[in-house]
């Protein structure tokens, strides 16, 4: 593949100047996706991600979108009010273990916690996978300091200031670190020692990047909190380099408005804040998809949504309940446990490039190995000989080999067939049966992942709508829903770059969590909780004011984690947006019992143990301007107007060949409807509508699949 290429983005409406533009940029592992909304116009662009200088790929993709809009790059940037970027730079630094030279100051007696890593054993029986967690900080750079705080927050041993300064001197002047993480026991309940140490270091070495652990999280559990601080230090150089370069290059290229960076928590932050807490940029792409989906879901009146995003290498799924995106609070980043709150996304190795193989027991499998974009599927004729999911789609005729990515990539269906034949031979299968087996397995893998995010948290997938996006998803969306018993599937407008589109409807968001462990028994305890809440809210509002938000554009959401006294795990519950009174307590405890039994089953609540509040959480949102997305008029088209061709395909679930209609996605106007079996081809994706399913385009240009009335 060559450099940036047009993605044949769709333009809806007429190009007319003067409108303000919003640009979403999702820098992914393979592609940089761009979505632009400019007045009533929308356009998308894709380019290959450029690892030596990410801004080149970004400008390339924005350029493609500009071209599709019929304007120049300069014109587009000159009228851009806000550009929101999601980047994988932070994820890459961690997965490649390539980051800054970090130093750690830790409570004396506990430096080996970074080696223990909260218990390194992987839940797999094979002894060969039980490796040590890598020392991303040189052992010589982990220095101990005399100090001790008790669980209650009470100081037991004062901080040794000489100890801090001497350790900092060794780390900075002798060992040459560029960042220091400060990791003290019990700092979740009292961060003053960490704060004191940070101030001492910052005063002496202002050029050093310092992260005290209580600043990234005030939640009990030393290793995940400390590791969050350490990883924040580890990625600070890469992140800063990226943030600066992108901001500078975009402004040099004529960007008029500001740049915001998207966080894995599901909202943006300013460059300044992102430089202080770069780790929050982790997982931004999938979070953008979830945020966009939730915005759309609100508009559609869907309050329970399961998300499915399938691209080239993986399938990502998450959950929205009551229009709240499920947040996971102790995310594991590679082998490292953290206390970072991120949009809960489960990722499995099921994408277009996932390879099919026969296991030792003679059982067919798909993934997690992927052929990626190099060598890619066998049909790419690029050296890949292993059968992939994409090859199976080609062999079944679901992909038109002559018109893949607008004809820019030539596909060799004979090579796809050869690969599948080799795969199916030991099972006694022909090419089509082999392709159908790949289809069934990949559907199973994805459906199991969706079960993991839903059933494992106590939700029944049948009560949800399935939102399907990403370039490879629309082939499988209907069948996954069928397996899970979901009645409605929504394939959003611009589904192939939907994560980038999600970036355009996001706000600034910050979150603070504080462990306080309270049984809420009596007015004094309630007052203590309210005091903590006041501080968290005030801190959040202050941060948002610093970001330039006025009081009326700031929103507060409160929640708390509850548990039965004696448990370690806790379940989150929303709280009213006000201080608590003693009168609220019985209701909260009753509600917790409900949530608990919904999650773990009837009869599991502990009858003798009182529920207690473990952590209080405040999420502060600063409302950003956003493009208005208008409904289009209903103008249903006749089948004949939308029909592009007819093609013989192998229907995977029916195991037979049939000639079915192929519709041109750009001609499927709002109000049009299509009955399966049929294909709807866009330039960068293909939607498969199975028999018994009807597809309708709505006024927001989504395609909604539903089971036909029996």
């Amino acid at each position: 593949m060559s450099t940036a290429k047009s993605n044949g983005a769709t333009v809806n409406g007429d190009a007319s100047g003067g409108s303000e533009a919003f640009v979403g940029v999702d820098v992914g592992g393979t592609h940089t996706d761009v979505q632009v909304i400019m007045g009533s116009l929308e356009a998308r662009g894709k380019a290959l991600t450029t690892y030596d200088d990410f801004s080149r790929g970004v400008l390339g993709a924005v350029g493609v979108a500009a071209e599709n809009l019929g304007v120049s790059l300069e014109e587009l940037l000159g009228s851009t009010q806000l550009l929101v970027n999601a980047t994988t730079v932070v994820t890459n630094a961690i997965t490649q273990l390539s980051g800054a030279d970090v130093g750690i100051l830790v409570t004396r007696g506990f430096r080996d916690e970074f080696r223990f890593a909260g218990g390194p054993r992987i839940r797999n029986v094979d002894d060969h996978v039980q490796t040590n967690v890598p020392d991303i900080v040189k052992r010589a750079n982990i220095l101990e300091v005399e100090e001790r705080t008790e669980f209650s927050g009470e100081e037991l041993v004062p901080l040794s200031e000489e100890g801090v300064l001497e350790a900092a001197r060794v780390l900075v002047e002798e060992n040459g670190v560029s960042a220091i993480a400060i990791c003290f026991l019990s700092s979740y309940s009292n961060g003053s020692h960490e704060q004191q140490a940070a101030e001492l270091i910052e005063a002496k070495y202002p050029e050093i990047f310092v992260t005290p652990s209580h600043r990234v999280s005030s939640v009990r559990g030393e290793y995940p909190r400390w590791m969050t601080a350490v990883l924040n230090c580890f990625v600070h150089e890469h992140a800063k380099g990226f943030l600066n370069a992108l901001g500078t290059k975009l402004h040099e290229a004529g960007l008029r408005g500001s740049v915001a960076f998207f966080q894995g928590l599901g909202g943006g932050v300013s460059q300044g804040r992102a430089e202080q807490l770069p780790l929050t940029l982790l997982g931004a792409g999938p979070a953008g998809g979830a945020t966009g989906a939730n915005e759309l879901a609100r508009r559609m009146g869907h309050d329970r949504v399961l998300l499915g995003d399938m691209g080239g290498t993986s399938f990502d799924t998450g959950l929205i309940y009551d229009n709240v995106i499920h947040i996971e609070k102790d995310v594991k980043v590679g082998r490292f446990k953290t206390s970072l709150p991120l949009v809960d996304v489960i990722s499995v190795g099921a994408g277009g490039g996932s390879i099919a193989w026969i296991s030792e027991r003679g059982v067919p499998q798909v993934g997690p190995q992927s052929a990626g974009s190099t060598p890619g599927p066998a049909a790419y004729n690029n050296g890949g000989t292993e059968p992939t999911v994409t090859d199976a789609m080609i062999a079944m005729g679901l992909i038109d080999p002559g018109n893949y990515l607008g004809g820019r990539v030539e596909l060799r269906s004979d090579l796809a067939a050869d690969a599948l034949r080799r795969f199916g031979e030991p099972m006694g299968w022909g090419v089509e049966e082999a392709a159908a087996a790949v289809h069934d397995l990949v559907v199973t893998n994805m459906a199991n992942a969706v079960r993991e995010v839903s059933v494992s948290h106590g939700y029944d997938p049948r009560e949800f709508v399935f939102y399907a996006y990403g370039g490879t998803m629309p082939w499988f969306a209907a069948e996954i829903a069928n397996v899970l018993g979901i009645g409605t599937v929504l394939v959003p407008h611009s589904s192939s770059v939907f994560c980038a589109r999600g970036l355009l409807v996001s706000d600034y968001v910050l979150r603070n969590d504080q462990t306080l462990q309270s049984a809420l028994d009596g007015t004094e305890e309630v007052a203590r909780v309210n005091q903590v809440a006041r501080e968290l809210v005030a801190a959040g509002e202050q941060s948002m004011r610093e970001e330039g938000f006025s009081a009326d554009s700031i929103e507060i959401a409160r929640s708390a984690d509850f548990q039965f006294a004696g448990q370690v795990h806790a379940l989150p519950m929303p709280l009213p947006d006000r201080e608590l009174s003693a009168d609220d307590v019985p209701g909260l405890k009753e509600k917790f019992n409900e949530v608990y039994e919904r999650t773990y089953g009837k009869g599991t609540a502990w009858p003798d143990a009182p529920p207690q509040m473990l952590n209080y959480s405040v999420t502060v949102t600063g409302k950003l301007p956003r493009p208005s997305i208008e409904e289009r008029p209903l103008e249903p088209s006749e089948q004949s107007e939308m029909l592009r061709s007819e093609r013989e395909v192998y229907l995977p679930t029916e195991r037979k060949r049939e000639v079915i209609p192929v519709y041109d996605e750009t001609k499927v106007t709002p109000g049009s409807s299509i009955e399966g079996p049929a294909l709807v081809e866009a330039v960068d994706t293909t939607l498969f509508v199975p028999r018994g399913i009807s597809a309708e385009r709505d006024q927001l240009m989504n395609i909604v699949l539903s089971t036909k009335e029996a």
Binding site: P120, G362, G603
Partner: protein, 729 residues
């Protein structure tokens, strides 16, 4: 390759569905438990069994429950009277090691029948190491017990649940017989919840496939696992392998080492095990059938169930297990106490089977199987369950799990062993948070650190253990017991790798901790003062007052390959990282580190030559090279002779004992490892545990290090069919 008449895709979808069910049961147990034994160490298991009591799937949390789930479910089936019908919502409690397959009484199982429509289709098994089962031991551990009647409550397949509800009478009975009964009852409820989850999911799965097909696919999946397992067994050379391990106990005065001899006979794709063991004893270390079965299967899972070999009933089929005469330390009968059987007799079986598989793998013609040799994990635990008054004034059980996780894993043929690997049985094991422990219990941690030099030296070093020290803080006293199951006989290395160091424990009374805090100081290892009386490994009664300190350290995993061949740069890194000391580098690895921290190449070369000459009393005739597979030092070659893997030297006929050709040296293991600044507890009041090092007479490479109590002579070599050895068992 299997010739199939079924649809293999559907069969795999069916298997994954059952795997999902046992995983969802496990998630339910973890999230609902209030016991660190469950949420940290994940000391529980969830299984699905068919109506015959055969395994359909198991969660990979605690592996030896492969044995207790098999025998426990079969005990419930056997206890049903003729024609007795089981109903939805029925549930049985089982924790009896004699009749119910339990590892020890602390592991309590709830077993509930599963239905599809009105048809009984199988059993859900959940099992948790509960916080307490009553008796003189806390959390089921009674080092002071002399009979099983001193230990906790014992249930032999007792029906205590109807319509999904715990019987009120039994609930009251449990309440009045155990400490912190709410924890026990909540764990029982958690298990009921997990089994309910299984029922709900199973109904969905069976309806998806239809009953007939569901049952058919269960059988096909068992066969697929069986066939894959047999293919791997076929790659082990036919022959007879034998080894011995010793169960330690010193809590009743005498320092006992009880032998467990295990013979493994490989015949094509079948394996037979025969146990011959010392008589049972009046201490809590006696094992029963479930212990032998589960501990044995554990080693097969970690060594040979790599990649695509899901566990189910198919994996039992190639194995025949004869646990020998009744009344032994692996086949105990009442009144033998057995509340620590899992970590004494059980973990010795796990280690013995590792040695047997190492012998067989080393002689395999298949390179993948050869690569599966590995050092033993520490496989012993030091448990200190204590009771007292907790923060807030309520009674509490202080039972930190750090030292379960805090044991090193064995080095592997491809990598160093994992630090804090835990115990072989527990792939789900995690390390608890100090902050959580301090917030919930009256304790203040002084340190938690790696035990330097605890990993067995080798080309690949064994993983290391950790040590904790905490002071009684926030309460006046804690009382309890200590059970330490691996102090005198460390984990062995493989193929010329050295044994690891073992852990240790001590209590320090009348310390300076409180005075230090008042003076605004931390108390460190170097500054801790007080009275630390000598203690046995197992102690029935331990009393700690305010400010007293308990220290518990874990052991390491065995090394792989002769440490004289470890890359000196890796040794230097270990020294720089303070994983090993400079003296350990010198004595165990022959590596000299210069003042600048870099390897002194010349001095290292000289020292290694000196060590080799010293080993065989002469300058070696040939040079010692890296073996093809780290961990294989001696094996039978194509000529039917034993050969040294370092220099290819001939070590005699394959039907004889190659040790006769080797240069051998015997020493007390404690003294020998002390030369490398490593710790192994010296046996008290009886002959010491010995290490016999056997060197190649030509290159002086370490071929094997045997471990045994002084005076033991019955060392074995593999008897391979292809070497013409006589195969009588």
């Amino acid at each position: 390759m299997t010739t199939t008449t079924h649809d293999p895709v559907s069969v795999e979808i069916h298997r994954k569905a059952l795997e999902n069910i046992t995983n969802e049961m496990a998630i339910t147990l973890t999230r609902t438990s209030g016991s660190p034994v469950v949420y940290e160490v994940q000391d529980f298991a969830t299984c699905l069994m068919d109506t015959e009591g055969e395994h359909l799937s198991m969660s990979a949390t605690i592996l030896f429950h492969a044995g207790s789930s098999l025998l426990g479910t079969q005990a419930v089936i056997a206890s049903l009277e003729d024609g007795e019908e089981v109903r939805p919502g029925d549930g049985w409690i089982v924790n009896d090691p004699f009749e119910g397959g339990a590892m020890h009484q602390g592991d309590v199982a709830i077993i509930m029948p599963q239905f599809y429509e009105d048809k009984h289709i199988g059993w859900a098994f959940s099992n948790v190491h509960v916080a307490d089962v009553g008796g003189m031991g806390i959390s089921g551990f009674a080092p002071g017990a002399v009979s099983v009647y001193d230990e906790g409550l014992r249930f032999v397949s007792t029906k205590i649940i109807s319509d999904g509800i715990l019987d009120r009478g039994w609930e009251r009975h449990l309440q009045s017989n155990v400490r912190v009964s709410n924890l026990l009852l909540n764990d029982l409820r958690g298990m009921i919840a997990a089994n309910n989850v299984a029922q709900q999911k199973l109904t969905e799965v069976v309806s998806r496939f239809g009953y007939e097909r569901f049952v058919e696919y269960c059988e096909i999946n068992k066969t697929l696992s069986e066939e894959a397992f047999r293919e791997r067994i076929q790659k082990l050379p036919d022959g007879v392998y034998k080894t011995s391990e010793w169960v330690e106990f010193d809590g009743h005065g005498e320092d006992l080492l009880l032998e467990v001899e295990v013979t493994m006979e490989v015949d094509d794709s079948d394996i037979r095990f025969d146990f011959v063991a010392d008589e049972q004893t009046d201490a809590f270390i006696n094992g029963t059938r479930g212990v032998a079965y589960g501990s044995l299967m554990t080693t097969f899972l970690t060594t040979l169930a790599y990649g695509d070999l899901p566990f189910n009933a198919g994996m039992w089929r190639p194995l025949t297990i004869n646990i020998g005469d009744e009344g032994t330390v692996v086949n105990a009968v009442p009144p033998a106490p057995l509340s620590a059987a899992h970590s004494t007799a059980g973990m010795r079986v796990t280690r013995a089977v590792k040695d047997l598989l190492n012998q067989a793998c080393a002689n395999s013609e298949d390179p993948v199987i050869r690569g599966r040799v590995g050092g033993m994990a520490a496989d012993g635990v030091c448990l200190v369950p204590l009771v007292g008054i907790g923060r807030g004034g309520a009674p509490t059980v202080v039972f930190f799990m750090d030292n379960v996780t805090g044991n090193g894993g064995g080095a592997q043929s491809i990598i160093d062993g994992q630090d804090c690997y835990g115990i072989t049985i527990g792939p789900g094991v995690g390390l608890g948070s100090i902050e959580t422990n301090e917030a919930s219990q009256p304790a203040l941690y002084l340190w938690r650190k790696l035990v330097q030099n605890s990993g067995g030296p080798g080309i690949h070093r064994g993983g290391q253990g950790l040590e904790i020290a905490y002071a009684v803080h926030g309460t006046g006293q804690l009382d309890g017991a200590v059970a330490f199951t691996c102090a005198e006989i460390p984990s062995r290395g493989a193929g010329g790798g050295y044994p690891a160091g073992t852990g240790s424990w001590s209590a320090t009374h009348g310390t300076n901790v409180i005075a230090d805090l008042e003076a605004g100081r931390q108390t460190h290892e170097e500054t801790l003062t007080g009275d630390s009386p000598p203690v046995p490994s197992n102690l029935g009664r331990l009393h700690l007052g305010r400010g007293d300190v308990i220290r518990v350290g874990g052991g390491g995993g065995g090394g792989v390959g002769d440490p004289l061949l470890r890359d000196p740069e890796l040794v230097a890194t270990d020294v720089a990282d303070e994983y090993v000391t400079a003296d350990n580098a010198r004595a165990a690895y022959g590596v000299v580190i210069g003042e600048d921290g870099a390897v002194d190449a010349k001095a290292t070369e000289d020292l290694r030559a000196e060590v080799r000459a010293d080993r065989i009393g002469a300058k070696p005739a040939s040079s010692q090279g890296l073996p093809e597979t780290a961990g294989i030092s001696v094996s039978i070659a194509g000529d039917g002779h034993w050969h040294c893997a370092y220099c290819d030297g001939d070590l005699g006929q394959g039907d004889g004992d190659w040790r006769q050709q080797a240069v051998s040296r015997e020493a007390s293991i404690s003294e020998r490892l002390a030369e490398s600044e490593m710790h192994v507890r010296l046996r008290q009041g009886a002959g010491p545990v010995m290490i016999a090092e056997h060197y190649c007479p030509e290159c002086a490479g370490l071929l094997l290090a045997d471990l045994f109590p002084e005076g033991f002579t019955a060392l074995h070599v593999p008897k391979l069919k292809r070497a013409g050895a006589a195969l009588e068992v």
